[in-house]
């Protein structure tokens, strides 16, 4: 039989103590540098925190892959959306002339912008891939204005840590951290493949977050809210996704 010698016992104790101390220190550092996601609790919390922290250390500034025009998908898949609400139908009937994007929360001057206000801002385009968590994907050209410009114009405050964005569909809201919100490829998108953004693909206004899965690129955006904490939004898990069982950070 193996006997536990005193030496072995002491070594095991020291290793365990070092492990606990190491984890506590790691937790403090992760909190200090904002490396814990809003859904970083519960049984999947350790995995989510490792993923989010590793991604933020490796990918804070990296650019999503862009593709040549020849790789734009001939038959992109629009995915299913809920039937349009009466409010959406009314706005659509008016050619979306009355569509308004509100920017509020931790900003110096809250804004209300029409689509033509947004079109007057610098327009950029990117040819990036939409990746669904189910596994399918397509490449398209997305035309819009970087979210960072709109946030700048609203005078985003330095305490802001997340941007919450809401769809005209009341149950559909998301949030991203400032690394993604200020990322040059995060667009308020109004055009696709040289045309208007079709309703099926999120028109008239979709927030494209190309470094994350499709479900973070919410369609029919009405409101942006800057906040320092996700605590008071929904169940405090960061977005509607964790409330439905899906990860808040969808970069993987």
């Amino acid at each position: 039989m193996t006997k536990f010698s005193r030496r072995k016992l002491i070594t095991t104790g020291l290793v365990a103590a070092a492990g606990v101390a190491g984890l506590t220190a790691a937790d403090r550092i992760a909190r200090r540098y904002g490396l814990i996601p809003p859904d970083g609790g519960g049984i999947f919390g350790p995995g989510e925190t490792l993923t989010y922290a590793a991604q933020r250390l490796l990918t804070r500034h990296s650019l999503a892959r862009e593709f040549p025009r020849s790789m734009i998908s001939k038959a992109p898949f629009r995915n299913e959306t809920a039937p349009p609400s009466d409010a959406f139908k009314r706005l659509e009937a008016g050619g979306f002339a009355d569509w308004r994007l509100t920017v509020d929360g931790m900003v110096a001057h809250p804004l209300t912008l029409s689509l033509s206000d947004l079109r007057a801002l610098p327009t950029h385009s990117q040819i990036t891939e939409v990746v669904c968590e189910e596994g399918w994907s397509y490449v398209a050209e997305w035309i819009g204005t970087p979210l960072s410009g709109v946030l700048e114009e609203a005078g985003i405050l330095p305490q802001a840590r997340y941007i919450v964005y809401r769809s005209i569909e009341p149950d559909w809201w998301e949030s991203i951290d400032m690394a993604d919100a200020l990322h040059p490829q995060t667009f308020l998108t109004m055009g696709m493949n040289d045309g208007e953004l079709p309703v099926g693909f999120g028109g008239p206004l979709r927030l494209r977050v190309p470094r994350q899965l499709g479900y973070k690129s919410v369609k029919y955006i009405l409101r942006l809210t800057a906040t320092g904490s996700m605590k008071h939004f929904g169940k405090g898990l960061g977005s509607a996704s964790p409330e439905a069982g899906y990860a808040w950070f969808a970069g993987i």
Partner: protein, 236 residues
């Protein structure tokens, strides 16, 4: 008692990997049924021809493959668990590899012994298996050359490949390391390869269990838990 058949390092990392592997397998197959179509290249969706499509009922009605779409949608927790288990495999593998180098585990237990590195040695041991002749006495305390090759292949080829192809499915990771996905021929190729490598691991898993069953399931399992090899006379 002499030295344990399996060191504590091997035993602990073995069972952690078993738990994580099963979690990855179940959740991975669960994710597949939300889109059981596979493609080659960068993009692929229901508007495109698949490389192949699995005859399975699906969990999403975006797929219309004639097998129905009434499977429960479990992607939320499956994704959470898949990535948590992936971290468990990666961290366990790191500990195992670093310790394996320092303790000489790889050199002593897994790299074929000097006299055993010719193709002849492999064929000889294979013939022994096929004739069902009893193993040499040395095999009670050490792996034969085919076992060594299989374990090295799983540890240093299949696991790195499954991790690589899995990471290549992360749009965020790809933004920092685009060469990872580009080398595999695109995102959908990476997904298809991830699926194939899963089956290679499953094949190893099935053969591994079968060989354990043939050589005495409980005595082998006990050896991997307690570290002690069964007495010679227990062997069939």
């Amino acid at each position: 008692m002499n030295a344990p058949r399996h060191s504590a390092l091997v035993r602990v990392t073995h069972w952690l990997t078993v738990i994580a592997f099963l979690a990855l397998l179940v959740t991975g197959l669960e994710l597949v049924i939300s889109h059981p179509r596979f493609y080659w290249g960068e993009t692929g969706n229901v508007n495109m021809h698949p490389l192949f499509s699995l005859p399975l009922p699906t969990s999403r009605d975006t797929i219309n493959n004639g097998y129905g779409s009434n499977m429960p949608d479990q992607n939320g927790w499956s994704r959470y668990l898949h990535f948590e288990a992936a971290w468990a495999v990666v961290l366990t593998g790191l500990v195992y590899c670093i310790a394996g180098l320092f303790t000489g585990h790889f050199r002593r237990d897994l790299v074929p012994a000097p006299g055993q590195r010719s193709p002849r040695a492999y064929f000889q041991r294979l013939a022994q298996y096929l004739h069902r002749s009893p193993p040499d006495t040395g095999e009670a305390t050490s792996y034969n050359v085919l076992q060594r090759a299989a374990y090295l292949g799983v540890i240093f080829v299949l696991f790195p490949l499954i991790i690589w192809t899995g990471l290549a499915l992360s749009p965020s990771f790809n933004s920092a390391f685009p060469v990872g996905v580009d080398l595999l021929g695109g995102r959908q190729s990476a997904r298809t390869l991830h699926f194939f490598i899963t089956w290679a691991l499953v094949l190893f898993f099935v053969v591994h269990i079968a060989m354990i069953a043939l050589s005495g399931f409980w005595s082998r399992t006990r050896a991997m838990i307690t570290g002690r090899a069964p007495a010679q006379q227990e062997r069939r």
